[in-house]
């Protein structure tokens, strides 16, 4: 049993560190900011889960599990937010290479907003504005 747990810890730790290595290689070799974002999120969730599981099993203690779950839950909550902010900034500042995209669903919304008059009223049809003015 002891040997089995040791081997399990070894596999978990090595796989978790492999996620970090994958993120580094992806950051280095991928051509575009959006694809690099895809690579950079690998160690954030899966890598941390494996490393934390290895740590808790190696220490043989349930007392560290809530703290590790707190750290991992924080990663789960904050990774989408920061990825969203980086992607949004990249889309707006033309850092993202848009010619490499297969589908750009945000473009329709951006065109709609930029073609509408600068009142901020985007979805309002002409009849509704007339009624509101009356």
């Amino acid at each position: 049993m002891e040997l089995f747990l040791e081997i399990l810890v070894a596999v978990l730790l090595i796989t978790g560190c492999l996620m970090s290595l994958i993120a580094g290689i992806g950051l280095l070799t991928f051509p575009d900011m959006l694809t690099r974002m895809h690579a950079a999120t690998k160690p954030q969730v899966l890598g941390f889960l494996l490393i934390f599981a290895g740590l808790a099993i190696h220490l043989r203690s349930w007392a560290v599990v809530p703290l590790l779950l707190l750290a991992w839950g924080m990663q789960l909550l904050t990774a989408p937010v920061s990825a969203h902010m980086i992607g949004r900034a990249g889309y707006r500042t033309k850092h993202a290479a848009k010619d490499s995209l297969y589908a750009d669903e945000l473009k329709q919304v951006v065109d709609k907003v930029s073609n509408s008059p600068a009142t901020g009223a985007i979805e309002v049809s002409p009849s509704e504005t007339k009624e509101s003015q009356d």
């Binding site: 090595i14 978790g16 290595l21 580094g24 950079a40 941390f48 740590l55 703290l67 750290a71």
Partner: protein
């Protein structure tokens, strides 16, 4: 056996850090650099966990949580201020 595992993990983390440093130096935009520095902070957290595994203690758990929070705040702050200068 744990010694060998720590060596393998350390070498992988070192290679990942070198890749991140190269991307920080090369990165065409500031967002690439923010992304690479975020990954470097994650590598630091993983290295703290490896140290805890090697020496069998739990002293650095709060540092791991603090590093996660720092990475989030840093990347959100920088990307908030990367805006289109024509509309700023």
């Amino acid at each position: 056996m744990m010694e060998i595992v720590i060596w393998i993990c350390g070498i992988m983390l070192g290679l990942a850090t070198v890749a991140c440093v190269i991307r920080v130096a090369k990165g065409p935009s500031i967002l690439d650099r923010v992304l690479a520095l975020d990954v470097m902070l994650l590598i630091i957290s993983v290295a703290l966990c490896l140290e805890m595994v090697y020496n069998r203690h739990t002293d650095y758990l709060l540092f791991v949580i603090a590093a996660c929070t720092l990475g989030f705040i840093g990347s959100v702050t920088v990307s908030r201020y990367v805006s289109d200068q024509r509309n700023a």
